[in-house]
Symmetry: C2
Subunit: 200 residues, 2 copies
């Protein structure tokens, strides 16, 4: 656990506050005064650390990563098959959905912001590249171990990503006719079933 210096503590305080408001209001409707109130710091203090509202929200993209899927990168995967890992990923997503729904709502807001601002878009894209790279690693493991067919890992990684992002829809529209867990599990099962070699 890294020891933070005073500056980082202050910045995290600001970012946490900004994040909390951002999740419900998006970028434009989040005012600096909202962040002042939430952070219990002054406007002058906030502007000491961030030169502008936009600068702050660019920093928030990286900060969002700390809330999102840390478990994706740390789980011990050596003794699991590729399909088991994919199912674990689904479990992690569901767990985040149940405990930190704001992560997905924030993603929606970052998408909207990325639509308006190329810097946000470029920064967000880096996060996605990391995620897609991880999914590809899993798929390649499956291919290497003969569990999976010889598939285009980049395209299938994108299919995994979109299945997971379907959760954003649940966060927004809270559909009670379909259970989110059932959706996630089914989607991943459908995908695994197709990429798996017969007789495996």
């Amino acid at each position: 656990m890294k020891i933070l210096d005073k500056k980082e503590i202050a910045q995290n305080k600001i970012l946490d506050a900004a994040y909390e408001v951002f999740v419900g209001k998006g970028y434009s409707d989040t005012t600096m005064d909202d962040i002042v109130k939430k952070s219990e710091m002054s406007k002058g203090a906030i502007y000491h650390y961030y030169s502008s509202k936009k600068d702050l929200f660019l920093a928030l993209i990286d900060h969002w990563e700390t809330y999102s899927f840390p478990d994706f990168y740390t789980k011990n995967k050596k003794n699991k098959s590729a399909s088991e890992i994919l199912k674990d990923i689904t479990d992690v997503v569901y767990d985040v959905y149940m405990t930190k729904k704001h992560v997905f709502l924030a993603e929606v807001e970052f998408w909207s912001l990325a639509n308006k601002d190329n810097e946000v878009k470029d920064k967000s894209k880096v996060l996605y590249e990391k995620l897609l790279f991880l999914f590809e690693l899993v798929l390649k493991k499956g291919i290497r171990e003969k569990e999976f067919k010889d598939i285009n890992t980049k395209v299938v990684a994108m299919s995994i990503l979109s299945s997971i992002q379907g959760i954003n829809w649940f966060c927004l529209f809270d559909d009670s006719t379909v259970d989110a867990k059932l959706y996630l599990d089914t989607s991943m099962d459908l995908l695994i079933n197709s990429v798996k070699r017969k007789g495996f």
Copy 2:
């Protein structure tokens, strides 16, 4: 083709202008003066037809439907198998992606707006229910004709929806390492492959 009266013509003019600005700026950053300029109508005229900015944007949700997927509901489907229809849907989505990318960008903006406003959320949800219902009809056709396994049509309809919504990601992040057409086709093939009965 319905004959529009003068009021409807004026309203469509306003909505078209609002839509065009909204797609790039979202709700909050779209000003009424933006819409004044784009529509070449006066503010007074716009407020004659819509009582508020929000009222205008609520109307825009229905208006968005006219841009989105009219072909989904009109294609002659009687002589096609369920999987063929699903592939047709994919083709329509790709066609819209290539010719009317703004439809997906607007969806992202509506999602963000739905996050902030329950009226928008409820209205958007109606559109999604129509789409999901359509997907379910196709899946049930496949089950009825013994092409598909006995699957949970609601959950799989949701999987189809999220695969299609993966295109939003392409619109935003314009990934050149994965081809959007290849993504759509592959995703749908993976799904069809899993729900299809063996030996079909």
